[in-house]
């Protein structure tokens, strides 16, 4: 049970970074920390006591495997996270070209 609470504390660390940082790149890094904490929790949910890696070989037929479904979910979610981070960073680079700064206090053209 303590590992799940530690994963949630990592999520809150990322959330703190998202709220209080002003640099665009640090906001992207905080979002990545939050996403990795959820992947860690998802992979730990599928653990069964004294289970081995879920690969079928001729000499491991009758033993207990850990749950392979959360591992497939985490692989898919990692690729989705890669696409989102790439798009965020591309837009951050374009914003630097237009405004000349990474500070979010300067980038507030749309208001009201």
């Amino acid at each position: 049970m303590t590992v799940y609470i530690l994963c949630f504390i990592l999520f809150l660390v990322g959330l703190y970074g998202l709220i209080t940082r002003r640099n665009l790149i640090k906001i992207v890094i905080s979002l990545c920390i939050m996403e990795f904490s959820i992947f860690l929790m998802l992979a730990l949910i599928g653990y069964i006591d004294s289970g081995i890696a879920p690969i079928i070989r001729p000499d491991t037929i009758g033993q207990t495997y850990v749950d392979p479904l959360p591992q497939a979910m985490v692989l898919t979610a990692i690729v989705i996270g890669l696409a989102t981070t790439a798009l965020l960073l591309a837009i951050a680079i374009r914003l630097y070209g237009k405004y000349g700064t990474f500070d979010i206090r300067e980038i507030n053209n749309l208001r009201g």
Binding site: P58, I78, V79, L82, A86, L89, G97
Partner: protein, 145 residues
């Protein structure tokens, strides 16, 4: 864009081929060991990016390379859809069915159509990551001219 120093160039000449072969090994053994299409594709892209960063390149060659990798990525995805659609024609009329013969567990040529999916997804992920990198480098080169 400029290359790096002599030590980096020499080490890259020794290692880039080994990383490329390791990526292909992880893709092909995707149904026997952990890994599969995504992880192997990321490694292959890593070897190409290492070569471009260590040796440098001028902007015309980078644009040609970006056109090539973009077309490769789209063709690989269309091949994945084509393999899935061919399940409609053979046997029961569903997508994504496993229609090649399934051998015994633990041998390299077994598990039906899954190794084909792994190979095409590996090519696609490698081409996609390479296209993202080249697009960002071309944008930076053109904006600092």
């Amino acid at each position: 864009m400029q290359g790096m120093s002599v030590i980096v160039k020499k080490v890259t000449q020794l290692i880039a081929g080994i990383i490329f072969l390791y990526g292909i090994y992880i893709i092909i053994h995707g149904h026997l060991t952990p890994g599969g299409g995504f992880a192997g594709g990321a490694l292959i892209a890593g070897s190409f990016i290492l070569l471009i960063l260590a040796f440098g390149s001028d902007i015309l060659k980078l644009k040609q390379e970006e056109t090539g990798s973009s077309i490769t990525e789209n063709i690989a995805i269309l091949m994945v859809l084509l393999i899935a659609v061919m399940g409609l024609l053979f046997g029961a009329k569903v997508f994504f069915i496993n229609y090649l013969p399934v051998g015994t567990a633990g041998k390299l040529i077994s598990a039906g159509v899954i190794p084909l999916y792994n190979i095409f997804i590996g090519i696609e992920v490698a081409a996609a990551i390479l296209t993202i990198f080249l697009a960002l480098v071309i944008f930076k080169e053109e904006s600092t001219k």
